[in-house]
Subunit: 380 residues, 2 copies
Amino acid sequence: MGEITEACRTFVVNDPNLTVYEVLRLLRILEGETTIGGITCKMTVSSVMAALGFLYYKGMLRVDRERLTVKLTSKVEWDVKSLVELEIRGAVYALSRAEALRDALKKRDMEIIYEFSQLPINYDSLMRKFAFMQSFQDVDGKEIIFVGDDDFLSVTCSLLGRPKRVVVVDLDERLLEGIRELSDKYGLEIETYKHNFIYPLPDELQGSFDTFCTDSPHCLGGILLFVSRGVSALKRGTETAGYFVFQTVNEPLLMTFETRQKLLKLITNEMNGVIYGMLPASIKYITPRNEDEKLMEVFLEATKRPSLEEYYRHVEETLKPSSKFIEFYPEFSMETSMITRVVFREPKPLIEGEYNKKAEEKYGPIYSWAIIEQHIAKEK
Amino acid sequence: MGEITEACRTFVVNDPNLTVYEVLRLLRILEGETTIGGITCKMTVSSVMAALGFLYYKGMLRVDRERLTVKLTSKVEWDVKSLVELEIRGAVYALSRAEALRDALKKRDMEIIYEFSQLPINYDSLMRKFAFMQSFQDVDGKEIIFVGDDDFLSVTCSLLGRPKRVVVVDLDERLLEGIRELSDKYGLEIETYKHNFIYPLPDELQGSFDTFCTDSPHCLGGILLFVSRGVSALKRGTETAGYFVFQTVNEPLLMTFETRQKLLKLITNEMNGVIYGMLPASIKYITPRNEDEKLMEVFLEATKRPSLEEYYRHVEETLKPSSKFIEFYPEFSMETSMITRVVFREPKPLIEGEYNKKAEEKYGPIYSWAIIEQHIAKEK
């Protein structure tokens, strides 16, 4: 693999997409029969031609002159077949690491995570997010900052990708401790910072990253604040990328048409971000067992009614709007959330100073604030 | 199916997502074991509860109180399994229609399509685009306009979905004739208009559609012009959607960071569009055989050289930049294109009048213009 990449690099030095990941994608395509024009990967025509030449001279390429197609002479041994079969084609390097990841995730303390009104994403969503980032080449060789990381995506990227530097910033020391333990166990060298995003990032983290990732509270204020902190961490004058997640459908608290319009205008016009990808229905959360229990209770209680009409009436009476965050509202749409990738060159954080009353008035309250304040008070 | 939808409607009248398509999605999820909280579809909690009640009273739902899960008692017979397995879960209604579609597509005259420097999308991409539109509920019950349709997506939507009205506007009479033939054969009632997009849409098409689709020339001027025409066709004061396609990676002619930034700013700020989805690497085109031949020639000629170094040298010398559209440049990235979905409420077309020299100066030339003019001259 490295050999092909190196050989291509010798020939074409100017293709920024000539990474191990892209070569893996090319090999994957060549497993099937394809015309040269039919190859689809981010590499340039020159680089693809170089790679084909390399494979041909090594006797690894079968050419059908009649059908105008090329194909590998033998199957590539893929380490982690199931992961590369995700919606966005991705590739990872070692099965043992993927298994380590599954183990690692099992060790997350869900109680701690739920305590902050956070919902962690499920395993498939985590892999999809990693593959999405890989497909844009935002992991390998990159300096990445995680603005909050209850999902342990930092561990995922470090285990399955080849990042240059990984930093996690989070308010919860217990979560950071969990990440540090895994980092030590697997030699990942993840750096952790305890920090409250009400305040700007520490100076040493500003302007020094290629990629940021955040899965903020899903309200306008929360997204703008966390994305702003991520943006403040990006390098200037070069192409960098940021990932955030938000609800895709209307429901009482979150993403109405107007809120989405406001969010996208602020990102486009104020923060100089250009959207490069928005994957609908891509992120699913793990709901706490007590939420599942509540819904099941409503359902089971209703099914004791003698008829479908009575069932309907009971459900309607029982499902009442509530102000609690994780709880299900009757009008809450059950759709999964959306990952968005934004590219920057001259990024400008919308919120630069403290997220105080004034900022809150302008961009909206962050609903898990009260929970965070309680936590801080308890700690003192 | 209709029975479940109707039963739910009786109970919850206010869920706009309570369509046959969403109920199909729900049933698909219930094939597997899931908690109620773990169900992910666009329907609200109320609608999901109603559907579960219906299934339960009909004896079609198995409830595991211990594991808090629900599941169908028997497997649903899916008509077109392979289509629903696409990246975006979609559902279509009859296998026979899917087969009709395959036949229909075979009848496209590729020579006519290539003559306009158009590249049709391949079958998988067509299905992915349809499923993407379905997943956003932009097909069933909707009035849809196709701003150019060399892909026969109009036929796809009519055969596999349940649109209320389908209109195709295109410059090439031969292409429209092909669509009309299929429409007659399958009773699709597709309306066709011959029109040059240099000029605004006919009055009777303005302001009357829920959805527009375009796969314009992939240059800034081309995208802005075709999207503007699409936008002019949308209804006002209600949520409508538009789809367009563009290249996702840097290459000489198309989508640099600056061009993308300009495009997205114009859509967001001038046209009042809000991006709701952007599916990377989703659309692949069918390249003409002579393009494949050219690339294969370069490759085969190069492999006659005695060494890999000589091979590289030959490729480098042979691949020279050219000004022709479909041809492959050495620096052309081979990545597939991107579908984008934009939502509007008060849409405003950027370009309202004729696309003349003045508009061209402002938004850039459209590269297939010369070819279109030649065609018009030849027709006269």
